[in-house]
């Protein structure tokens, strides 16, 4: 099985503090990997490196064999509702990644039709609805649609269900499973704090430990 995301000895320092210290991780094609860890362990920072938002101070990351940023990645950020652009309606928010890539109006229309067809529950949301009129769960779904509209080979999600209650979380898990079963979502890297997300979605788990974590310090001494 080929490797989609390969991170090797990734180190990031922010303001003189080491946030990521030689993190090594591999995500294989078809795998759903949960990235877990305490607050401050550097999970979001690691995603920033994978997404190409932040360069690593040491080590290297390859996404499908290339340096990030990669157009093969769809991203659902933490606080997905807050990441939507309230001055655009649902369709324009979902189509934004295509707009930024210079897709024509016809291409955008085709991609929107396709993603609305692929994703269960998407039909509940009107394309011309204003995002601030949607519920938290619906905004989350719009963020997923936006991540999937480019038909990426990898989904990266940063605590996508953090604001969900138990029922909404179960429903979201079912929706993601449906996407995976339909072949619309092959590979995923999901940052989460929640054991339920791990149990419901992940094939594998990678625990990221803070540099200050006692276990990390013990491991460092043992090495």
């Amino acid at each position: 099985m080929s490797v989609c995301i390969a991170a090797e000895d990734v180190t990031v320092r922010i303001g003189g503090r080491t946030v990521l210290d030689r993190v090594t991780l591999e995500l294989e094609t078809g795998q759903w990997l949960a990235l877990v860890g305490r607050n401050g362990a550097g999970k979001s920072t690691f995603l920033d490196v994978v997404l190409g938002i932040r360069p690593a101070d040491g080590g290297r990351v390859r996404v499908n064999g290339r340096l990030p940023p990669s157009s093969d990645v769809g991203f659902v950020p933490q606080h997905a509702g807050a990441s939507l652009l309230p001055w655009l309606d649902v369709a324009h928010n979902v189509a934004l990644p295509l707009v930024l890539r210079g897709a024509s109006a016809a291409e955008r229309r085709r991609a929107l039709d396709a993603v609305w067809e692929r994703v269960p529950r998407a039909s509940r949301i009107g394309r011309d609805a204003r995002v601030h009129d949607l519920s938290g769960g619906e905004q989350q779904l719009v963020a997923f649609l936006r991540a999937l509209v480019t038909t990426p080979s990898i989904l990266v999600a940063d605590e996508p269900f953090a604001a969900f209650d138990t029922d909404a979380r179960s429903e979201a898990h079912a929706a993601l499973h449906a996407l995976r079963d339909a072949g619309a979502l092959r590979t995923a890297l999901i940052v989460t704090h929640d054991r339920a997300d791990v149990e419901a979605l992940a094939d594998a788990v990678h625990t990221l430990r803070s540099v200050d974590d006692p276990q990390t310090r013990r491991a460092g001494r043992a090495a």
Partner: protein, 246 residues
């Protein structure tokens, strides 16, 4: 306007007319409504009122446009760069503490006794107001959306086009309304100070020199109405354009 408010306004005008026309109150600085209407008629038929109004409006809008351009660029720079903010913090604080009108004599020396000095003074006042608002707006930008656009590998221009322009629009709308008032005040006072041929400020000074209270009141009223129309127009535009919760 409700009937009660119209009735109240009419009652005030009637009382004003009563005390001035009856001779109950006489002072060279007080005009009667009838005198004011006569001054309005004279101003309109002679064309001088329209000329003064047009001159003031043109200077005000030129100062506003120039000041907005400078203020936005300065605000983006100071708000977006911590290093630039550190360098410019003290000079800008000093600049803001100086009343913009105090720069007018200096601007007269630079640009001479023409409209350019008046427009520059208004632009300076506008730029100081706008830069402060824009810099604060840039510092308050929500990071979630900015981070997401970086994740999409958006170019700098795309980030401005799809994010920054909208994110700063409410701040800019508020700043513009304040800037209109600043531009109007500075423009009118500059017209009063350095012998402008036309303009509402020049009209008020000419009326004062000629003890023409009705024309002075007319200049006051028209200046006030101009300010109200422009700020209300800006507020209306803000409501039309900014349709999302800011």
């Amino acid at each position: 306007m409700s009937p009660a408010r119209i009735a109240a306004a009419l009652a005030v005008v009637a009382a004003w007319a009563g005390v001035t026309e009856s001779g109950l109150v006489r002072h060279r600085a007080i005009a009667s409504p009838v005198g004011l209407l006569r001054a309005l008629g004279d101003g309109v038929t002679s064309g001088t009122l329209l000329l003064d109004l047009g001159s003031t409006t043109a200077r005000l809008l030129a100062g506003l446009a120039l000041g907005l351009a400078v203020g936005i660029v300065a605000g983006l720079g100071v708000g977006g760069s911590a290093a630039l903010a550190r360098w410019l913090e003290a000079p800008l604080e000093l600049l803001r503490a100086i009343p913009p009108l105090l720069f007018f004599p200096l601007l007269l020396l630079v640009f001479g006794y023409g409209d350019m000095a008046r427009v520059a003074a208004a632009a300076l006042a506008v730029a100081l107001v706008v830069s402060l608002h824009v810099a604060a707006g840039v510092r308050r930008l929500p990071q979630t959306r900015a981070r997401f656009l970086r994740a999409l590998n958006a170019t700098r221009w795309q980030r401005v086009r799809w994010h920054l322009a909208y994110e700063l629009a409410p701040t800019l709308a508020t700043a513009t309304q304040h800037a209109i008032t600043a531009s109007l005040v500075v423009t009118v006072v500059c017209e009063m100070l350095a012998g402008a041929d036309h303009g509402l400020g020049a009209r008020a000074i000419a009326a004062q020199v000629g003890y023409d209270a009705p024309d002075m009141w007319l200049a006051l009223l028209v200046t006030g109405l101009l300010g109200v129309i422009l700020t209300r127009g800006a507020a209306l535009l803000e409501r039309r354009v900014i349709t999302w919760p800011a």
